[in-house]
């Protein structure tokens, strides 16, 4: 197509060609843009419609809510990003995330309210658990407190709610101990030995130095240090009335009672 011209006329020709290319390109761009804009507006209105029709379900039905959140993640819309964090000054009107605008804040508010309650639970129990609490416990606590007919909350919701706290630069984060998610409300790192010990505690609710030595093939000093460090952090409770000193997870208080009640029911 492009034959290299010779002589002065070639300069003119190349100038004309590039101008033509440019104009064609810009026309293509504008059609693309307008097409995309219509797509976006269609998508917006559909999403809005969807959210409006299902607002109730989103709030009350945990499975539906989870699916919805997953769908949003799949299409690259994070329902919770930066709503309100930018101060609402950008883009003139409205402010907040597209999501908040679309959903009339239903979903956002749900998670923000939940986050507040999660923070409350963490704060209330910090004295007894050193700021490390299993997500399952948070859920139990929340469900126990909420009134009859209140929407059910899943662990997934709680994890998402904790995620909303991130823009605040707060100390709240989710860590995994073994396979179970925990919410850590005190900015402290666990070393690998401590994590391993905590993971071992999950099995029975408690652990002792000899148990760690046998199961993890640790030296006595190593096991002792890990457990005492965890006690020092307030994450384990000591029971000195056992044959061997036992170290208990405060999260186990609930199961203990349930077991007791089961025993009573059985006996």
């Amino acid at each position: 197509m492009s034959r290299k011209g010779v002589g002065l006329a070639a300069f003119d020709r190349s100038r004309i060609t590039s101008a033509q290319y440019a104009s064609h390109g810009s026309s293509l761009r504008s059609t693309d843009a307008s097409a995309f804009e219509t797509q976006l507006s269609v998508f917006r209105s559909l999403l809005q419609q969807f959210a409006q029709t299902h607002a109730k379900d989103i709030r009350s039905n945990p499975t539906f809510r989870a699916q919805f959140a997953r769908m949003c993640a799949a299409i690259g819309v994070d329902p919770l990003t930066s709503s309100n964090t930018s101060g609402g000054a950008d883009k003139g009107g409205g402010g907040g995330s597209i999501w908040a605008q679309l959903l009339g804040r239903t979903v956002n508010d749900f998670y923000f309210e939940l986050a507040v309650r999660v923070v409350e639970v963490c704060g209330e129990t910090r004295g007894e658990n050193g700021g490390l609490i299993e997500v399952r416990k948070v859920r139990e606590s929340l469900m126990g407190k909420s009134m009859e007919g209140a929407p059910e909350i899943t662990e997934d919701d709680i994890l998402r709610a904790v995620g909303t706290l991130k823009p605040l630069g707060s100390a709240y984060s989710v860590i995994k101990v073994g396979s179970k998610p925990y919410i850590r409300s005190v900015p402290k790192e666990l070393n690998t030995d401590q994590s391993a010990a905590l993971e071992a505690v999950q099995v029975l609710g408690y652990i002792s130095v000899p148990m760690l030595m046998v199961n993890l093939k640790w030296a006595r000093a190593r096991a002792q240090t890990a457990l005492e460090d965890l006690v020092g952090e307030g994450m384990l409770w000591v029971d000195k009335q056992a044959d061997e000193c036992e170290y208990w997870s405060p999260g186990f208080m609930l199961e203990g009672q349930q077991q007791q009640q089961q025993q009573e029911a059985a006996g």
Binding site: G232, G234, W237, V238, D239, K240, Q241, W248, Q257
Partner: protein
């Protein structure tokens, strides 16, 4: 509310921590220990409230014979009068000793809980450490403080329009008229304390002798 004392009260629903073995060991971590004390304090209060225990025997958990002035400690709590006044050792035993777990709170730790309650004005040692070896082994547990009892009595007197009339202390806590009131069956000594606060505020006047005391409300 449920002041008509039934011979067999509904079993006390222990909180979850009561079934948590380390709950009976003094925690070494300060923060944890504080959380532990808070839990124990609220457990003691709600337990005593449930069983209407006014005086808690701290050493009642050890089955050793305690020679006290209250010789008439009947083992069966059939008579509600005695039941209310003398803390039956079995119940306080249950409180600090979980037999199923085989865990118990040591006396020193119990005292710490009582001290914790004292700081809150919710407990007080009986006798204040005067009567020899037995001193400090029994403590008032104020799930209602004397002031709160006084307010209840005052409200009742007000409601029933008995201001200015003389009531005997006996009929206040044991009489038929107060059956159903929460202070029915109140420990006589605690009643004295409660009325004492009213006297101090010049809302009441006590007269008479040991056994036949009367009180007049203004």
């Amino acid at each position: 509310m449920q002041s008509s004392p039934t011979p067999t009260p509904a079993p006390f629903a222990f909180p979850r921590e009561y079934f948590f073995p380390p709950f009976f060991t003094r925690q070494t971590n300060l923060t944890t220990h504080h959380a532990q004390l808070v839990k124990w304090a609220s457990l003691v209060l709600s337990y005593c409230r449930h069983h209407r225990i006014f005086k808690l025997s701290l050493s009642g958990q050890s089955p050793t014979t305690t020679t006290t002035t209250t010789t008439a400690s009947t083992t069966t709590p059939t008579t509600n009068l005695l039941d209310a006044t003398t803390p039956s050792s079995t119940t306080s035993d249950e409180l600090f000793h979980n037999r199923k777990l085989n865990r118990k709170l040591s006396l020193a730790d119990v005292r710490e809980v009582i001290d914790f309650l004292r700081k809150d004005g919710r407990a007080e040692y009986v006798g204040g450490g005067s009567s020899g070896k037995d001193s400090g082994d029994v403590a008032w547990v104020y799930w209602r403080t004397p002031e709160e009892w006084a307010a209840l009595i005052e409200a009742w007197v007000d409601e029933t329009g008995q201001k200015g009339t003389v009531l005997t202390l006996y009929e206040l806590t044991q009489g038929d008229a107060t059956r159903g009131a929460e202070f029915h069956g109140l420990d006589p000594e605690l009643l004295q304390k409660a009325l004492g606060t009213l006297v101090k505020r010049q809302k009441a006047q006590i007269f008479g002798h040991e056994d036949s005391q009367g009180v007049k409300f203004f």
